[in-house]
């Protein structure tokens, strides 16, 4: 039972990790926390749904196309909505991102109302039985894809020139401007990348969950919890935080009370901020007078 | 005369970095005491330590005979030590009048309940504070800009408003962190005039951090020289001018 829980926890956690990572990418690049991120994730999942069901595309091309759409949306958001208000108070960004999320959510609800949608099955695979352990095709798929995506991400980040440039801009925007990096384009591509990665998360979770306009909220809070646990701003921390959160939800739900699954994320947030605000891998964040 | 401020062996250590080491001197009422030294010498740290923003790791500090080491900034300020900040400590969204009114906070004794219910004693106290703030601004010829948000004022005007605010409660000890930076030469002279007048006529003890050596030499009574956290000299301008160690500390800093 414990192993089973761990496995489902890791599968869920893998998605959280991906979402938290995508939020961190945007945060590191722009110091903005995209409070509407969950709704963009939902939009990515809905985009796949529309492409597959209404346009009849096969799953994989639809997924890739959806990710591309979200990337472009990210660039658009940065250029059209974030950049114009950059001289205002920081809280304006928070509100802008929330409101954009609202527009997406309202739009989805207007178009599709109160229905919930099952996503098309990705593939029909018999669950594998390893002793007492049941490994579903979906869990395997999710873990495998996320593992691949994360590996690709970190390879790009740490081993390529582009990755080094990104690291440099993360550390010092002014320095980057001095060496000729186009910071505005950087912000736009990071927003694009962040939303694209978030979309991947949404696309992955849809097969094991139902698609509905409010899907975003649960993503958002899990993403936050994972970022907080791993340490705000830490890329590796976001991944670790996501995995731990997924597993924690399963344990709390099974061993204490099923009602706790929904609220584990909040408990984690409060616990971390009270006990160790920097999270596992982050830096100290309090302001002392 | 009893010293206003007594520092004995004050040291400040930031996880390994010794920002201040064994600083000892006394400041007196009616005296203009300048603190100078190369960058990183620990001047602002000294002010931060005195005003309670930074804890001193060793040593003792007394203000008017009472210990102030370990106290919170607002407690030390309430006792009569007021300061300005290097980067300007004004409240940008508030008007000059409101800034000065905030400076008078500790002197306005309207009660919470009185304020909320609009009782007479509270309104009287507030009105008194308002009149006093207006008078202070008028005294400094700032009456015209009293109702402008300070972020819209010029650098010189902002400095003036900050001084008025800091002085509003007539504190016995004033710490001025680079009061003339960014001011034009005529404004600088005016500022130094005001400082000298505050010390000479009002009997306020003033300590100032300054880089403009001419002003320091002509405007202060005593100079304290810091270098790498240590006090390497203390004395009247004439002595300091000829002090070899001081010259050495400044060599390389034209």
């Amino acid at each position: 039972m414990f192993l089973q829980l761990t496995l489902s926890g890791l599968a869920q956690g893998a998605i959280y990790a991906l979402i938290a990572l995508s939020m961190t990418v945007v945060y590191r690049a722009t110091t903005i926390v995209n409070f509407g991120h969950g709704d963009f994730v939902m939009a990515g999942a809905f985009a796949v749904y529309v492409l597959v069901i209404y346009l009849g595309l096969p799953y994989v091309p639809a997924a890739i196309l959806a990710v591309g759409i979200l990337f472009i949306m990210g660039v658009g958001v940065s250029r059209g909505f974030i950049d114009p208000i950059k001289s205002g108070p920081h809280i304006g960004f928070a509100m802008m991102s929330i409101s954009l999320g609202y527009v997406l959510r309202g739009g989805a609800r207007t178009l599709w109302g109160r229905e919930v949608f099952p996503m098309p099955q990705v593939f029909d695979m018999e669950p594998i039985f390893l002793g007492d352990l049941v490994v579903t095709g979906d869990a395997l798929f999710i873990c495998a894809i996320v593992a691949i995506l994360l590996t690709v991400f970190f390879l790009i980040f740490y081993r390529t020139t582009i990755g080094t440039v990104i690291q440099a801009v993360y550390q010092s925007e002014r320095g980057a401007t001095l060496i000729g990096v186009n910071v505005r384009a950087f912000h736009e591509s990071m927003w694009g990348a962040g939303l694209a990665m978030g979309a991947m998360g949404g696309i992955l979770i849809a097969p094991i969950s139902l698609l509905h306009p409010d899907l975003g909220a649960s993503f958002l809070i899990r993403g936050f919890a994972a970022m907080t646990l791993g340490g705000f701003g830490s890329l590796g921390g976001a991944v670790v935080g996501g995995l731990l959160l997924g597993v924690a939800e399963q344990y709390f739900g099974a061993y204490i009370n099923t009602a706790l699954i929904d609220i584990t994320a909040y408990l984690v947030i409060v616990a971390v901020l009270v006990a160790r605000p920097a999270g596992l891998f982050g830096k100290t964040v309090t302001v002392r007078m | 005369m009893e010293p206003l401020l007594e520092l004995q062996g004050v040291s400040v250590n930031f996880s390994g970095l010794q920002a201040l080491a064994n600083v000892t001197f006394n400041a007196h009422a009616g005296e203009v005491r300048a603190v100078i030294g190369p960058n990183g010498a620990g001047k602002t740290t000294l002010f931060n330590a005195i005003s309670g923003y930074v804890p001193s790791t060793e040593g003792a500090m007394h203000f008017m005979g009472k210990p102030i080491h370990g106290l919170a900034p607002h407690e030390i300020s309430a006792m009569g030590v007021r300061r300005t900040f290097q980067n300007g400590g004004l409240f940008p969204e508030m008007t000059a009048l409101e800034n000065v009114l905030t400076g008078l906070h500790v002197d306005i004794d309207s009660s919470f309940l009185g304020i909320v219910l609009g009782l007479r004693e509270a309104r009287e106290a507030e009105r008194e504070g308002l009149a006093r703030a207006r008078r202070l601004l008028d005294l400094m010829d700032l009456g015209a800009i009293a109702d402008q948000p300070v972020k819209d004022l010029s650098g010189g005007q902002q400095r003036m408003v900050e001084i008025v605010r800091t002085l509003a409660t007539e504190p016995p000890l004033l710490l001025l962190d680079e009061p003339v930076v960014g001011l034009s030469p005529p404004m600088r002279d005016r500022m130094m005039e005001i400082i000298r007048r505050l010390a000479g006529e009002e009997g306020i003890g003033i300590m100032l951090i300054e880089h403009v050596i001419d002003l320091v030499m002509s405007g202060s009574d005593i100079i304290v020289v810091l270098s790498s956290g240590e006090m390497i000299a203390e004395g009247p301008p004439d002595e300091i001018r000829q002090n070899r160690e001081v010259l050495e500390a400044y060599l390389g800093h034209a």
Binding site: G106, Y266, L267, I269 | T102, R165
Partner: protein, 315 residues
């Protein structure tokens, strides 16, 4: 009394005739506006005047509503006392919320932890079945304000109007004093505030507790308004509504809070018939305000007369 102050006092007097000009439904919307005026005034104090990103407003709102409801249902407490209890409960919640700010937690961390507080409270309402009746909602017995039964929108209107005017005036008194200045100075430059002898922690607590009380009272009014209190009314969607009202009206401005509350109660209410449209409209309004009118609706008034600017003293 300045011309503007005369206008402010005139408005509630003129408003007295509203019930005779509006039907039951419209009056209900007006009553909702009054509730949300207090919600926004309370919220604006913390995020606009104190400048802290503390999103505990729905927690205060829900605690106010449930406190009033529970006391009326299980203890038969008269509505007037229930309102007082809600104010106290909201104040206590405000105090708890302030603890996080006092520990130095700021910005997004503060936002997240206070949001979590709100969601935890909602979980409590949802799972506190025996007492709160969970998702079925808690039906309150018909409230009476002293001897006046609140059995239709008209008596509710007069009671709500009275409460709103009193609370807004008290808040205005609070802000136009040394307390208000202390609070705003913390927002503008906390380090400097302490250098003026002001105990910043004390004023952070004052702002939070006042905010919690005001919104707690709004919660008690809300309970009387909708007559059945549900957990869903106090979730993440609700806090966005609150924030939207502050933003659209104008952060840090009491007049702005009133404008924002009125605007964003009326518009989505009209669109409630089309699911999703109200959210969509909300998002669009806020995006537009952020892009083109960042200081909120009150900034339009300020262009007409600088007297609408928020001032922190009384002449």
């Amino acid at each position: 009394m300045s011309r503007l102050q005369r206008i402010y006092y005139l408005i509630p007097v003129v408003a007295l005739v509203i019930p005779f000009m509006a039907n039951e439904y419209l009056l209900w919307v007006v009553n909702a506006m009054l509730v949300y005026i207090l919600v926004t005034v309370g919220f604006n104090l913390v995020i606009g005047n104190l400048g802290q990103l503390a999103f505990a407003n729905t927690a205060f709102f829900g605690i106010g509503a449930y406190t009033a409801a529970i006391l009326m249902v299980y203890a038969g407490i008269p509505y007037v006392l229930a309102i007082v209890a809600s104010a106290v409960a909201g104040g206590v919640a405000g105090f708890l919320a302030s603890v996080t700010a006092l520990r130095g937690i700021r910005l997004y961390y503060l936002a997240i932890i206070t949001l979590a507080f709100g969601e935890l409270m909602r979980w409590v309402y949802l799972h506190g079945d025996k007492v709160t009746r969970g998702s079925d909602g808690l039906q309150i017995p018909q409230p009476s304000f002293f001897w006046i039964p609140l059995d239709s929108e008209m008596p509710k209107f007069y009671v709500f109007l009275l409460l709103t005017v009193l609370v807004v005036k008290a808040t205005s008194n609070l802000m136009r004093s040394r307390i208000g200045r202390a609070i705003v100075s913390i927002r503008d430059n906390e380090a400097s505030t302490a250098s003026l002898g002001i105990h910043t922690a004390r004023y952070i607590v004052v702002a939070f507790v006042w905010s919690g009380s005001v919104v707690g009272i709004a919660g008690a009014m809300f309970a009387a308004l909708i007559e059945r209190v549900f957990p869903e009314s106090f979730g993440l969607t609700e806090i966005i509504v609150h924030f939207g009202m502050v933003l659209v009206g104008g952060t840090g401005s009491i007049v702005g809070s009133v404008l924002g509350a009125i605007t964003l109660t009326a518009l989505p209410e009209y669109f409630r018939q089309f699911p999703g449209m109200d959210e969509l409209l909300f998002g669009v309004i806020i995006v537009l305000v952020l892009l083109f009118l960042p200081k909120g609706l009150v900034s339009l008034l300020c262009r007409i007369s600088p007297a609408f600017n928020e001032r922190y003293y009384r002449e």
